[in-house]
Symmetry: C2
Subunit: 433 residues, 2 copies
């Protein structure tokens, strides 16, 4: 059998522990599939005294520089997270002639151009299957399995925390805050869930997918995002009544030479495959011009699922595939596809609009008039009689529109918000058909 | 840019036409992703006078030997189908030093050992992503993306024709023969649908998946298979009443050192992701010891989806990945994993049993007694009052069992079939929970 492949693990937390577990508990399996043994030479951690059940003590140190410099090491696996020290570790590793494997979505979304340029300069590769959708091999799918296709659309449930919360709200009618508390109790949400529920985490992942599928570099802070924080259970009920459910989707699609993209809660028909994705699972649906619709679903987080993708990248390096793929992909490099980002105002969509209005005659007429003045036509309306839960004389009015330009729809909503008898703000979501 | 990769296409039918369409309509896209141009040098067909809109006339000939021998050709793409001449084409191509890409599941399921031994001997690779589940990259998923895992279970909807029929029956309550006629009218079923509806097509694909996931070579005629031909709409209704639907599944799972496998109609809970797979789609759910449950869904047939997978294999060869993967995989080679096939009699499962019995007292007691005598316990029972549609005095009796050994359950059914008052045969299906 060939020479072993030696790796340094930087980071001994959840995912690092999972990677160590797979590599150390199943060395024959890994060696068979990699065509050579894979050895963990060093594990660098912040606190060497913390107990780590899957990592042998003699591998552990705090010396990052030594782990990168070690001439026996071929691959540095960056699992520390963050975009400061992690970036330096990745750049130093490439400069030292090591291949890099990382699960760090924020790092790639924010510093992809610099990192991939360094990799090309030093003729080393960067594996990042684990950076998007945990155990789901969506990077390989886009870069290799679907390489004969032009991808025309991507829709992803890329944040398990948000999907857990939305599933609990839809299934059991609980409020957003109760569902969040439950997610925190079960370990699906962090004490500060902001980046999960405000769409930022999904936006990082979407930036990476868009780079691979369309060759477009989108600064992550330019991705429009709407989260699920404070989503009203009433809107899930209305969506249900109309045959839809609400999912937090990261979406990008091609229209001519432009790529539209956003992260937002979106109404999906309940028969849609993505609508069936429950709990903390992730899923990505891709449309390719040859393959048609194709969907991938699996665990988007967790020690072993994420480690499964990290280990796949390590095996690809051992086999020698990763180096060739990386050369062929030209990621975050100037590109001839010529696609560019479409401003969100110009995106056409159907919309769900819910406004609270005073329970008096003429309100529907007033709201409908504003929409009509913007050239937006109405597909369906729900207005129930007032019930106890709506305090005072206020009732919800729900409107589903036909296709309309986002810019026009948003100006209509701001006019509706200022109508007499409307309690602002109106809440609205895109609708995917 | 590097030297072009030249290919001979053997077969200019549906899939061959799709491959030609992708390669000839998008040469820059393919060259960018392959790192070099991909040229179709020759297309070999049976009838050179048949119009083929996507294939230029000057490429077409009937000369297989020349297409294989051509010293400029690097890859022979076998898309003729069948296991006679196709086998010779593949073996001759390997002997002539060409790589092979094929979509031919029957060929690999029946002659895998011989073909892969020849490939190793001649140091050439065989790509076969398109042989299972059309456009779904399940071969790459098992061989590369999930290489860090031991796969513990596979469940696939691998025959689109059967799934189309079952979906029509479940959604609209039509009979098997009406659903089949509809599938034929829409082009989802062939004039002779036998191999699709009797489970043989799915069994071929399962043999390939089992080889990759477990390293077990199972002669395809030893895979127990039950098809959907003649499935009674009444059983779908009863399944629905119990919270299940019926899908034709190709399943394999690990139990200790043994692999159990079969193709059969199976009851799935309606909330199960595979239960949601509708129409002619294919889907594969895989369980890995690290990744957990992961599912892939997409088009399992059709010119362009299948061609998408063929082209992915061609690009993998152009990039140089396929050669390395193939060396690492050691397919259909003697293997150290040591798994072996478990005889179906020993497989434990829950069962759905429906028997027609005379509408008289004591029938349930008699049937329940036979099951109890075999140590099989009953989870639930449906027995409705007789309605018009049941002629004479015969009513259906439906029983869901707890887990039982298949052998014991089958002997119980044969005893039940001979009970006085039972109209044989009792119909039974496995139940997946």
């Amino acid at each position: 059998m060939a020479e072993p492949l030696n790796i340094s693990l930087i980071g001994g937390g959840t995912v690092g522990g999972g990677v160590a577990q797979i590599l150390l508990q199943h060395p024959e399996r890994i060696a068979t599939r990699a065509g050579r043994p894979v050895h963990i030479k060093r594990v660098v951690v912040r606190d060497p005294h913390k107990p780590r059940p899957t990592i042998p003590k003699e591998l552990v140190s705090t010396d990052i520089a030594a782990a990168i410099r070690d001439p026996q090491v071929h691959v540095v696996v960056e699992l520390m997270g963050g975009t400061g020290l992690a970036k330096q570790v990745v750049l130093d590793s490439l400069a030292a002639g090591k291949h890099v494997v990382t699960a760090n979505k924020a790092l790639l979304a924010e510093h992809g151009p610099e990192i991939f340029e360094a990799a090309r300069k030093h003729e080393r590769s960067v594996g990042f299957e684990a950076s998007v959708a945990g155990g789901i091999p969506i990077i390989r799918a886009l870069a290799e399995s679907l390489a004969g296709n032009q991808i025309t659309a991507i829709q992803g449930i890329l944040n398990g925390t948000s999907n857990f919360i939305l599933t609990a709200m839809a299934d059991r009618g609980v409020s957003y805050s109760d569902a969040l508390a439950e997610a925190q109790r079960l370990g699906y949400a962090e004490a500060d869930p902001t980046l999960d529920v405000d769409g930022s985490d999904a936006a990082h992942k979407l930036a990476i997918l868009v780079q691979i599928a369309f060759g477009v570099t989108v600064p992550v802070n330019e991705i429009e995002r709407f989260g699920i924080a404070g989503l009203n259970a009433m809107d899930l009920r209305f969506a249900h009544e109309l045959g839809y459910t609400i999912k937090l989707l990261a979406e990008a699609w091609l229209d001519g030479k432009e790529v539209a993209l956003h992260v937002a809660p979106v109404l999906l028909r309940r028969t849609d495959m993505l609508a069936q994705v429950r709990g903390a699972f992730n899923a990505v649906q891709v449309v390719g011009d040859a393959v048609g619709e194709i969907m991938f679903q699996g665990a988007g987080a967790g020690a072993l699922p994420t480690a499964s993708s990290v280990v796949a990248d390590i095996i690809d390096l051992a086999v020698g595939r990763a180096q060739r793929t990386f050369q062929a992909m030209k990621l975050w490099a100037p590109h001839e596809l010529g696609f560019r980002q479409r401003p969100s105002e110009g995106v056409r969509s159907r919309f769900f609009l819910r406004v609270l209005v005073q329970d008096k005659s003429g309100m529907l007429a007033d709201v409908a008039r504003v929409l009509a003045d913007q050239g937006i036509s109405i597909a369906s309306v729900i207005q129930h009689e007032a019930v106890e839960e709506h305090q005072g004389d206020v009732v919800p009015l729900v409107i589903m529109t036909h296709y309309a330009e986002t810019g026009r729809f948003r100006s209509a909503v701001s006019k509706i918000n200022s109508l007499t008898g409307v309690v602002p703000p109106g809440v609205f979501y895109s609708v995917d058909d």
